[in-house]
C-alpha cells in the first residue's frame, strides 16, 4: 500500500480557489434585509469635535440609522487591555480615519450620499506625525526599554575602529487582497453572529461583546478564511466587526461592512516606520567588539501592538551575530497617525536592518567582502552562543546554511565577475549581497503561547477538526489536515478542517507570530491522542474477537486500518471502529490543548528565554541598477531556509517565496508619504506599489535545509510564516552594493529603506559629486 503520509496534498482549498467557489465574508449571500454599513471617518488628524448635525443625513431615502458614540450600549473601547482606542470618537479625534459615526443604509451609494450630508465642526489642535517631532515634544508612548550585555560603553571606547550610523526604515501597507470586512447577523436576545476576516476570532468576539454590553457567550465569531492577513488583521480586523455589530444590533438587520481599498489604506495601521541610531566597534578582522543601538518606532495614535513589536525589534537587533558587548534601547513614539500594527516579522525586520546595514559599512570600511564579515560574527555552537537577552542559541544552523549556500550560489565566483562587470560598465552597475536570518519563534507575551482544539469523529468514520487557528492563505488548515491524518492514521479525504469558530474552541490566541501550526497542531494532536486512547481498548476487543491469538501489545492506526503491530494481517477499518464505539457508548469527540513550556522574560533585567526555538535562513541576491534612473532589477536570488522537518515542503516553499517578495516590496517600491496635515499620499494602488509579477527575480532558487529536524515543535517541523520575509534584506544590500560601486566602494553611500528609485538616484548623485 502506498504510504499516504508522504503524499502532500495541495492547499485544502486549492480547488475552491480556482473555481471561484471559495467564499470570503463579502461573498456570503443572505436572503434579504442585508444592510450596508459605512463609517464616517475623521478628515482631520487632531481636533476637538465642537458640534455635529445628523438630521439632514438621516432624511435621505434608504438611510436606516446613523450612530454616534452615545448610542454604544457597552463600553466605547476597542482595546480591551489598554483602553486607549475609542470605538467612536466623542469629543476628540486623534488621527485621520478615526471613526466618528456609523451609517446603516440600503446600499453603499446611499450611505456615501448621507456621509456627505453630515455636518461636523472641529477645532484643530497641533498634530505630530514624525518620530523627530514626537521626540522634540517628548511624546513617547511608554517609557523606553533597554537590554544590555557585557560593557558596551567601555568596549566601544576600546574598540580598534568605530562607525556611527543612522537608518530610517519605512512604513508598509499590508495590502491583503481582501480588504477589512465583516458581516454581522443579529439573533435572539441580542445575541450576535459575526462573520469576520480576522486573525483573532476570540478577541474579535470579546471586543464585540464588550462594546455591545454583552457577555462573550452571546457572541459567536466565525472565520472561514481570509483573503490575506499578514498581521494586518491581528488587531485591526476588530474595529470593522464591532462597527458592523453595533449597526446590526441597532437595526436588528444583518449588516455587511467592507472597506474600499482606499479607505483601508487610509485608516488602517501599517508596519512601524523606525528611525535608528547606532555606533558599532570592531577590529581589523571585522569582528564586532561593541554595538550600541537606539531603536525608535512611530506607534501612531495608540498602543495597539506597538510595545511587543518594539520588544521583538530589540530581540532581533543582533540578527545572527554574537556580540559580546551590546546595548539596545527602544522607544515607541506617539503620533497622530492611524495606529501602526503587526506586520509579518513584527519588528524583527526593523531591528535586523540596522545591524545588517552596520556590517555592510564595516566591510566597506575594511575593504573586505561583507559576507565574510557576517560569517566571522555568526553565533557559534559551543561558545559565543548567548544572545544579548541571555537565551542560548540552540541547534544553530548558520554555518551549515553558509557552507551550502556559498557554494550553491557561487558567491565568490560571482563577486569577481560583478567587479569586472562594474569596471567596464558606467551606466549599469551590479550588486551582490548575502544576508542571514535568525528569528525567534513564540509570542513574546508568554501566556499567548497556547491553543485549543476540538476533534469530532462521526460514526461513519469521517472526522471534523476544529482548532483555534485561522486560515489566511498560509496553509495552516492544510498542515493541520496532514497532522491529523498522520495522527489518526486515516486518509486526508476523510477529514475536514472546520471554519474557525469561537463556539467550538474558546479563548484562542491570534494566528500570528508564525506559531499557527506549532500551537494548533499540538492541540489537535492532543485531542486525537485522547480519542485514540478511548478507542484502543475497543480495538483490542474487536481484533481479539476476529482472532483470539492476536497479540494486542501495540495497536497501530495507519492507512485507514487499525491493527496490532505484530499481527498486521488482522485489521479493522477506522469506520468500523467508529461505528462500534458509538454502539458501545464511547465518546467520539475530544478537546485538545497545548501550552508552550518554559517561556519567560524579566523585563526589568532584560533577560530571559522569550523564544521556544529559532528559525534560520540565508539568501544571496544579485541586482542590476540603472544609474541614470535609479531603477533596479533582481537578477538572481538563492535561498536556503531551515524549516525543520517540513510538514509540507510545497507550502513551506510557498511561504518562503511569498514572504521574500513581500520583503522585496518593503525594501524597494513600497514608498509611503504623508503630507503636512497627516494625509496619506500613497492611499491607493495607483500610487502605492507592491511588487508585481515583473519584479520576481529573473532567476530564483529556494531550497529547504535537509536533515534539520526540530525537537521543539510538532512532527519535528519549524515555523515558517515570518522568517523568510527578512531574506529580502539581501536585495536591499545588493542595491547598496551596486550604488557603492559608482565610487568604487571607497565611500559609504547614503542609504535608507526602502531603496526606492529616489533614494538610489539621490545617493548616486551625492557619490558622484563627492568624487
Amino acid at each position: 500500500m502506498n504510504n499516504s503520509e508522504t503524499i502532500f496534498l495541495p492547499h485544502e482549498s486549492a480547488i475552491s480557489h480556482v473555481t471561484g467557489e471559495a467564499s470570503y465574508v463579502s461573498d456570503i449571500q443572505l436572503r434579504n434585509n442585508l444592510l450596508w454599513g459605512q463609517v464616517y471617518f475623521s478628515p482631520v488628524a487632531h481636533a476637538t469635535i465642537k458640534s455635529y448635525e445628523l438630521t439632514e443625513a438621516l432624511k435621505i431615502d434608504g438611510i436606516v440609522d446613523i450612530l454616534d458614540f452615545t448610542r454604544i450600549p457597552g463600553i466605547n473601547q476597542l482595546n480591551t487591555h489598554m483602553h486607549d482606542e475609542p470605538c467612536l470618537a466623542g469629543d476628540k479625534v486623534t488621527f485621520i480615519g478615526q471613526a466618528i459615526f456609523l451609517i446603516a443604509a440600503k446600499d453603499r451609494e446611499t450611505a456615501l450620499k448621507a456621509a456627505k450630508k453630515i455636518h461636523i465642526e472641529f477645532e484643530q489642535l497641533e498634530a505630530i506625525f514624525t518620530i523627530e517631532n514626537a521626540m522634540a515634544k517628548r511624546n513617547n508612548l511608554a517609557p523606553s526599554r533597554r537590554i544590555e550585555t557585557g560593557n558596551p560603553d567601555k568596549a566601544l571606547e576600546s574598540s580598534k575602529y568605530r562607525l556611527k550610523g543612522r537608518l530610517e526604515t519605512g512604513a508598509q501597507e499590508h495590502w491583503y487582497l481582501e480588504t477589512q470586512s465583516a458581516l454581522c447577523v443579529p439573533g435572539e436576545n441580542r445575541n450576535m453572529t459575526v462573520f469576520a476576516s480576522t486573525q483573532n476570532p476570540s478577541e474579535t468576539q470579546n471586543v464585540v461583546a464588550e462594546v455591545l454590553g454583552l457577555q462573550s457567550n452571546q457572541v459567536i465569531c466565525e472565520v472561514k478564511r481570509m483573503g490575506g492577513g499578514f498581521g494586518g488583521k491581528e488587531t485591526q480586523a476588530n474595529p470593522i466587526a464591532v462597527w458592523a455589530a453595533l449597526l446590526a444590533d441597532a437595526t436588528r438587520q444583518p449588516v455587511l461592512m467592507q472597506l474600499s481599498r482606499d479607505e483601508d489604506q487610509k485608516i488602517t495601521g501599517k508596519r512601524h516606520p523606525f528611525l535608528s541610531k547606532y555606533e558599532i566597534g570592531f577590529d581589523e578582522n571585522g569582528i564586532i567588539t561593541a554595538y550600541i543601538v537606539d531603536l525608535h518606532g512611530n506607534s501612531g495614535s495608540s498602543f495597539d501592538l506597538s510595545i511587543p513589536i518594539l520588544e521583538r525589534a530589540m530581540y532581533h537587533a543582533d540578527n545572527s551575530y554574537f556580540i559580546e558587548n551590546m546595548r539596545v534601547t527602544g522607544t515607541m513614539w506617539k503620533t497622530n497617525l492611524p495606529s501602526n500594527t503587526a506586520f509579518r516579522g513584527f519588528g524583527g525586520p526593523q531591528g535586523m536592518a540596522v545591524i545588517e546595514n552596520a556590517i555592510d559599512s564595516i566591510a566597506r570600511f575594511l575593504k573586505k567582502d561583507a559576507a565574510e564579515i557576517r560569517f566571522k560574527n555568526f553565533y557559534q555552537t559551543q561558545t559565543k552562543n548567548l544572545t544579548h537577552y541571555g537565551q542560548l542559541v540552540n541547534n544553530n544552523r548558520l554555518s551549515r546554511l553558509w557552507d551550502q549556500l556559498i557554494k550553491s550560489s557561487d558567491y565568490f565566483e560571482r563577486r569577481k565577475e560583478i567587479e569586472k562587470f562594474n569596471h567596464s560598465n558606467n551606466l549599469i552597475k551590479k550588486g551582490l549581497a548575502l544576508t542571514p536570518v535568525k528569528f525567534g519563534i513564540s509570542f513574546t507575551t508568554a501566556f499567548l503561547n497556547q491553543a485549543g482544539a476540538l476533534v469530532l469523529v462521526y460514526k461513519d468514520g469521517s472526522v471534523m477538526v476544529n482548532h483555534g487557528g485561522t486560515e489566511m492563505g498560509q496553509g495552516l488548515h492544510t498542515k493541520i489536515l496532514h497532522i491529523a491524518a498522520k495522527e489518526l492514521g486515516i486518509s486526508k479525504d476523510n477529514i475536514i478542517i472546520s471554519p474557525t469558530n469561537t463556539s467550538k474552541v474558546p479563548n484562542s490566541s491570534a494566528t500570528a507570530a508564525s506559531s499557527g501550526t506549532d500551537l494548533n497542531g499540538m492541540a489537535v494532536k492532543d485531542a486525537i491522542r485522547t480519542i485514540k486512547k478511548r478507542l484502543k481498548p475497543l480495538a483490542i476487543k474487536m481484533l481479539s474477537k476476529m482472532n483470539p491469538t492476536v497479540n494486542t501489545g501495540r495497536i497501530i492506526f495507519k492507512n485507514d486500518r487499525i491493527y496490532s503491530k505484530s499481527n498486521p494481517e488482522i485489521s479493522i477499518s477506522f469506520a468500523e471502529l467508529a461505528k462500534q464505539a458509538h454502539l458501545e457508548q464511547i465518546s467520539l469527540s475530544a478537546t485538545g490543548y497545548y501550552g508552550t513550556p518554559n517561556i519567560y522574560f524579566d523585563r526589568e533585567k532584560g533577560k530571559g528565554k522569550p523564544f521556544h526555538y529559532y528559525a534560520f535562513g540565508m539568501a544571496v541576491s544579485e541586482v542590476e541598477l540603472d544609474i541614470l534612473t535609479g531603477n533596479t532589477r533582481i537578477i538572481r536570488t538563492d535561498i536556503l531556509h531551515d524549516a525543520g522537518k517540513s510538514i509540507h515542503p510545497e507550502i513551506d516553499k510557498g511561504q518562503i517565496m511569498g514572504a521574500f517578495m513581500q520583503g522585496v516590496g518593503w525594501c524597494t517600491t513600497e514608498v509611503i508619504r504623508w503630507d503636512a496635515k497627516g494625509n496619506l499620499l500613497n492611499c491607493s494602488p495607483d500610487t502605492y506599489k507592491i511588487p508585481g509579477i515583473g519584479d520576481f527575480p529573473l532567476n530564483y532558487k529556494a531550497e529547504l535545509l535537509k536533515n534539520a529536524n526540530n525537537p521543539n515543535a510538532i512532527h519535528q517541523s519549524k515555523a515558517i510564516g515570518e522568517p523568510p520575509f527578512m531574506l529580502a534584506l539581501s536585495v536591499w544590500l545588493a542595491i547598496k552594493d551596486a550604488i557603492s560601486s559608482v565610487a568604487d566602494h571607497t565611500k559609504e553611500p547614503d542609504f535608507s529603506l526602502p531603496a526606492s528609485k529616489e533614494v538610489v538616484l539621490l545617493s548616486i548623485k551625492k557619490l558622484k559629486e563627492s568624487l
Binding site: 480557489h17 495590502w175 487582497l177 490575506g228 481599498r261 508585481g692 548623485k765
Partner: protein
C-alpha cells in the same frame, strides 16, 4: 430588439437586461453586476480601480470575419452596456461540472498543481488572465507571461508559482470546452448584433447611448452635447467608482467599429480614436519601435485591451503616456461633427491641464501620424516606481536629426510628468539647434531643463528626483543615439 435592452451571453445562455424593468444604472460596472446576481461571487473586488486584476473576466467578441477573440478585462472598469453582443466568461465557467464531479480547466489544474494559490483571493483573476493567454495561444515565455499577468497583483505567493502555472497551462494548448461551442456562440452573437440601430438605455436617472456607427455617434453627440463621452471607460469608470462621480448622460462609442482601425497610406498612418492601446502597442512595435519602452509598459493587458488611443489623448493628463510620442511624431488630431471636420496639431489640441480643443458637438475620430523619418533618431523612456502597471513618474520622447557634420539640425524634446501638461523643453531645443551633438553639449543642455520646467513633489515622487532624472534621461538619449551612430 427593443432599444431599452442589452443582450450578451453568460453561462452559455442569452442574458437580457431590460432597463424598463431593472432599477440599477446602465453605468453599473460588470463587477457590481456579477456580485449581485446569484452564483457569480468568484469574481472579486480588490481595488475597483484597475490595479489588481482580482475582477478579471474574459470577453469573447466577434471579429470582422466572424471569429471569436478572447480578451481579459478588468470588470470593475467596464460598464454593463459594453457587454452587448459579447460573451462574458467568468471564473465559474471554466470548470465543467456534473452534480458530483468537477472537471477543472487545464488552466485551473495547473494552478492547483503548482501550488499557485494561497489565500485564493487573487486566484480567480489570475486564472482568468491565464485563461486569456490560453485562448489567444500565447507562447508561455517569461515576456508573454509578464505581459499577460502584470495586471494581476498577488500579495501571498510572490508570483514564482504563478509563472510556473502559466507555463504549465499554456505549454500545450488543446481545444477546450469553449472551443466546442464556438460555432453556436458565434451564431448567437451574430444574431444579437444583427441590428445596427443605436441602443438608447433610459433609466430614471441616466440616459446611456450606445451607437454602432460613426454616423449615429455624431448625431447623438449633436443631440446630447452634454453627454459624457466614453470609450474604453478605463478613466471614467475609475472616477465613478472612487469619487462617486455621476453622469446623467453617457455617450458610449466603444461599439463604433469604424474608429477602431489603423489605416496605412503612402504618407501617413490613420489611427482610429477607438483603436485599443493593445493594438496601438503592436503598431508601435512594428513602425516606431523606439517608443515601445512606453507602450509596452502602458498599464496592464486588461486595461490595454479596452483603453483607447482617443481616450488617452482626450484625458490630456500630464502623465498621459501616448502624448509625448505623438508630439514628437507631429501627429494631428482629427475631430468631426455631423457638419464638419477639423485637423489639429496634437500640441495645439491639448490646451492645458486636462483640457482639450474639442467643440461641443465633436468627437475625436482619428489620429494622423506621418510616416517615420529614417534619417532621424527616436528615443523614449518611461520611469515609474514599479516596472509594470504603473503610471509614469516622468517620461521622455525625442526625435533628433543630425547633420553630416554632427550638429543638431532638428529636435523635438518632450517630457511628461514635469508640468501641468505634457510639454516640449523649448529652451533646451533652441540651445541644441546647430550645436555639435556631444556629451558636453548635452551636459550644458541639462542645466537648462529648469528654464522649461518646475516640477512638483507629489505621491509619486519629489521635485529633486524628477529634475535629476529629467537630465539623466537626456543623457540616456545621448548614449542611445551614440550607440546607433556607432553601429552604422
Amino acid at each position: 430588439m427593443k432599444s431599452n435592452t442589452i443582450q450578451f451571453i453568460l453561462d452559455n445562455e442569452i442574458y437580457t437586461i431590460d432597463w424598463s424593468k431593472v432599477d440599477f444604472l446602465p453605468s453599473t460596472t460588470v463587477l457590481q453586476f456579477l456580485r449581485a446576481i446569484p452564483g457569480h461571487t468568484g469574481t472579486k473586488e480588490g481595488c475597483a480601480e484597475g490595479d489588481c486584476g482580482a475582477c478579471t473576466i474574459v470577453l469573447a467578441e466577434l471579429t470582422q470575419d466572424n471569429k471569436l477573440t478572447y480578451k481579459a478585462i478588468d470588470s470593475c472598469l467596464l460598464f454593463l452596456p459594453a457587454l452587448h453582443g459579447k460573451q462574458l466568461i467568468t471564473i465559474e465557467n471554466l470548470a465543467t461540472k456534473t452534480p458530483t464531479a468537477t472537471l477543472l480547466h487545464p488552466v485551473q489544474q495547473a494552478i492547483v498543481e503548482t501550488n499557485a494559490s494561497q489565500c485564493g483571493y487573487c486566484t480567480p483573476g489570475i486564472a482568468m488572465s491565464v485563461f486569456g493567454m490560453y485562448k489567444t495561444l500565447k507562447i508561455p515565455d517569461t515576456k508573454n507571461i509578464i505581459d499577460s499577468l502584470s495586471g494581476n497583483l498577488c500579495r501571498c505567493t510572490g508570483y514564482g508559482s504563478i509563472i510556473e502555472a502559466a507555463k504549465m497551462a499554456c505549454n500545450t494548448i488543446k481545444p477546450d470546452h469553449f472551443s466546442g461551442i464556438e460555432p453556436t456562440i458565434i451564431e448567437t452573437l451574430k444574431e444579437i448584433n444583427r441590428s445596427t440601430d443605436a441602443i438608447e438605455l433610459s433609466h430614471k436617472h441616466q440616459l446611456y447611448l450606445l451607437p454602432k456607427t460613426l454616423k449615429q455617434a455624431l448625431e447623438l453627440r449633436g443631440k446630447y452635447p452634454q453627454a459624457t463621452i466614453v470609450n474604453g471607460s478605463t478613466d471614467i469608470a475609475v472616477r465613478q467608482n472612487k469619487t462617486s462621480e455621476f453622469h446623467h448622460q453617457i455617450l458610449d462609442i466603444s461599439s463604433v467599429t469604424e474608429i477602431k482601425q489603423i489605416i496605412t497610406t503612402n504618407n501617413y498612418f490613420q489611427i482610429g480614436a477607438g483603436c485599443s492601446i493593445e493594438d496601438f502597442k503592436k503598431f508601435v512595435q512594428q513602425n516606431f519601435h523606439e517608443f515601445s519602452p512606453i507602450t509596452d509598459h502602458f498599464a496592464s493587458l486588461q486595461i490595454r485591451n479596452v483603453a483607447t488611443v482617443g481616450g488617452n489623448i482626450c484625458n490630456a493628463s500630464p502623465i498621459g503616456d501616448l502624448i509625448p510620442m505623438l508630439i514628437v511624431l507631429k501627429a494631428q488630431v482629427k475631430t468631426a461633427s455631423t457638419v464638419n471636420s477639423r485637423m489639429i496639431n496634437i500640441e495645439d489640441f491639448i490646451t492645458g491641464y486636462r483640457s482639450i480643443d474639442l467643440h461641443n458637438k465633436e468627437l475625436v475620430t482619428d489620429i494622423i501620424i506621418p510616416k517615420r523619418d529614417n534619417d532621424s533618431y527616436y528615443f523614449s523612456e518611461k520611469v515609474s516606481t514599479r516596472r509594470d502597471l504603473d503610471i509614469s513618474t516622468l517620461s521622455i520622447a525625442t526625435i533628433i536629426k543630425l547633420s553630416k557634420e554632427g550638429t543638431v539640425d532638428d529636435i523635438i524634446l518632450v517630457y511628461g510628468g514635469l508640468a501641468a501638461t505634457v510639454k516640449r523643453a523649448k529652451s533646451c531645443e533652441t540651445f541644441l539647434l546647430g550645436k555639435q551633438f556631444t556629451l558636453s553639449t548635452i551636459s550644458e543642455t541639462i542645466n537648462l531643463i529648469t528654464n522649461d520646467f518646475t516640477p512638483i513633489s507629489d505621491a509619486r515622487s519629489t521635485t529633486e528626483y524628477r529634475l535629476e532624472t529629467a537630465g539623466n534621461l537626456l543623457l540616456k538619449c545621448y548614449y542611445s543615439v551614440l550607440n546607433e551612430l556607432e553601429s552604422k
